[in-house]
């Protein structure tokens, strides 16, 4: 019997595993009719998932955690049995800003996170008007990557700069129009900004937090319990992920993703991203097979420690109040047990460590957050009382 599964996605390169599963027969071979539905925003995807219009979705890794705790929205439980992609983000700053950084540094800057963050800090200290930096959603790895990088050089993301959310397709135009001075976004938007001479890449996710979890499959509790459907779905995604990760398949995958139903942009730039080639500006190129990957190194296993790292970032930036209850909820959202049950139990890679060497131990999460020199306290919203 074929089961129909409707999956929501936002048009980004890391929707690749879902696209390959639907287009190349991986889903069908496992008795799944996988229907993909494009969403105009993360907010829309979340609402459609929570209301049952979608059976599952391509989600930013922190979204299911925020949703299950009920922060920024009404609470809606969600679990993660599968990771759809790791890496793929980068931080790009406008060409004038990058040049100001080079001038103050008295040298050309390599795309190395420590050097570029320090150079940006010098510019921030000299400016009167705060810089505006874009990212994609409050509960996104992009938001946390950008904040982590800024704070590493003593820049307070909520006091020294302004951070705004902008839908990825509008990011490059916002930079061109001068509405933002830089952004943290997934591909192909960094490449496009660089190719148009609008900006320089100053850090990549593969530098900031190597092998960091990026997009996950978010599943409501009903599907999580339905082993007869979830099992074949996860096995289909596993097969699709293995295919999508093969370098030899990059050209075909880029062609699939370039279709108007998915990303609707030229296959050539998508292929570079899939091969880990990223233009950095000034004729420099990144060549890193781990820039964005879909399989291998147990990439598809959602690990509890990773969910807690994301939860720690939410605490650090005042998105929710500290508390044992929410930490326990966060620890149950990523479900390596469901992956093990339906796909298998591969040897896990050691947890990724961020570029500044600041080790994260989930067992001492509150101490980790308290130790951060730069953070933002949670402020509860005041209720109006009499509406």
């Amino acid at each position: 019997m074929t089961r129909r599964i409707v999956a929501g996605f936002v048009p980004l390169v890391d929707a690749a595993v879902l696209v390959a599963a639907a287009e190349l027969g991986f889903a069908r071979e496992h008795g799944i009719e996988l229907v993909l539905r494009k969403e105009p925003s993360w907010a829309s995807l979340r609402d459609h998932l929570n209301l049952g219009y979608l059976d599952c979705a391509h989600a930013l890794a922190p979204m299911p955690i925020a949703s299950t705790i009920g922060v920024g929205q009404v609470r809606a439980e969600c679990v993660v049995p599968f990771v759809l992609g790791r890496g793929g983000n980068a931080i790009t700053l406008s060409t004038p800003l990058f040049e100001a950084m080079c001038d103050l540094a008295g040298a050309s800057l390599p795309a190395e996170p420590r050097a570029t963050a320090a150079a940006l800090a010098r510019v921030v200290r000299k400016r009167r008007e705060p810089l505006t930096l874009g990212m994609v959603f409050p509960f996104s790895t992009h938001n946390f990557d950008l904040r982590y990088w800024l704070a590493s050089a003593g820049i307070h993301p909520d006091q020294d700069v302004r951070i705004v959310a902008i839908p990825p397709p509008l990011m490059v135009e916002s930079l061109a129009a001068g509405h933002v001075d830089g952004f943290c976004v997934g591909e192909p938007w960094n490449s496009l900004a660089v190719v148009r001479n609008l900006g320089h890449v100053v850090a990549t996710k593969s530098q900031l937090l190597p092998r960091g979890v990026e997009k996950v499959l978010a599943v409501p509790p009903g599907l999580a319990r339905d082993a007869d459907t979830l099992g074949p779905l996860l096995r289909a995604l596993e097969a699709a992920a293995a295919w999508a990760d093969e370098r030899a398949n990059a050209a075909e995958l880029a062609r699939l993703l370039s279709a108007p139903d998915y990303l609707g942009m030229p296959a050539s730039s998508l292929k570079d991203t899939l091969l880990g080639r990223l233009p950095l500006g000034g004729g420099e190129w990144l060549d890193d097979p781990d820039f964005l990957f879909f399989h291998g190194h147990a990439a598809n296993v959602p690990q509890t420690g990773e969910a807690l790292w994301l939860y720690a970032q939410m605490l650090r930036w005042g998105q929710l109040p500290p508390g044992d209850a929410s930490r326990e909820i966060a620890a149950r959202v990523f479900r390596p047990d469901l992956y093990a049950l339906h796909v298998g139990a591969p040897a896990l890679a050691p947890p990724a460590q961020p570029f500044d060497g600041e080790r994260f131990d989930p067992a001492h999460l509150d101490a980790y957050v308290a130790r951060t020199r730069i953070h933002t306290p949670f402020v509860a919203a005041t209720h109006i009382g009499n509406g």
Partner: protein, 220 residues
Amino acid sequence: MLLASRERSLDGSLCVTPKPLRVLIIDENAVRAAILEQGLRDSPAAGPPLLVHRIGHEAADLLPRIAAIDPDVILIDLENPSRDTLEQMFQVSRLAKRPIAMFVDQSDSETVQAAVDAGVSAYVVDGLRRERVKAILDLSISRFRAFDRLQRELSEARSALEDRKLIEQAKAIVMKQKGLDEQAAYALLRRTAMNQNRRIADLARALVAAAALLDAGDSQ
């Protein structure tokens, strides 16, 4: 706290009439936004006076504009990509009022389903009374549906007009080719369409296209 104190009269007793709700409409479609705005202004169902603002989507200056309006309820079309921008703004907002997405409130799933089907979403300041919000949302749903109906009627009217033009052209071709008067030409068209089980407008379109093809062939 600031807001609660505003609702107290000079002698410190609570006012009986609630203060007006500030409603903000964000919609890329100006016509739909105008229909919704008018509906909200006219409707007694929405309760006490509403201050309605309407802004188009332009991610860059959305934030300062919303901050200046300081809305209690924001109505935005579901497909609007600016929703992610809004949600970030509410997250970092240190204002007393922090609106949250009102979906997934399971207590009123019927309204929520209707809103999603109509394509409208709402952000509501936490703690605002449910019945006032519901009245506004119900009205928005009906206005969004009315707009849809309007769009449909408009496109039907447009295609009816187009059909009439085609039939006129086809009639002229038949009159010329067959030497018939207008009435006879129309009767022939109608009879042929009926025999072929086609719409007369479809037959006319084929005829006009064929005539254009033959004309082009003649002129070469």
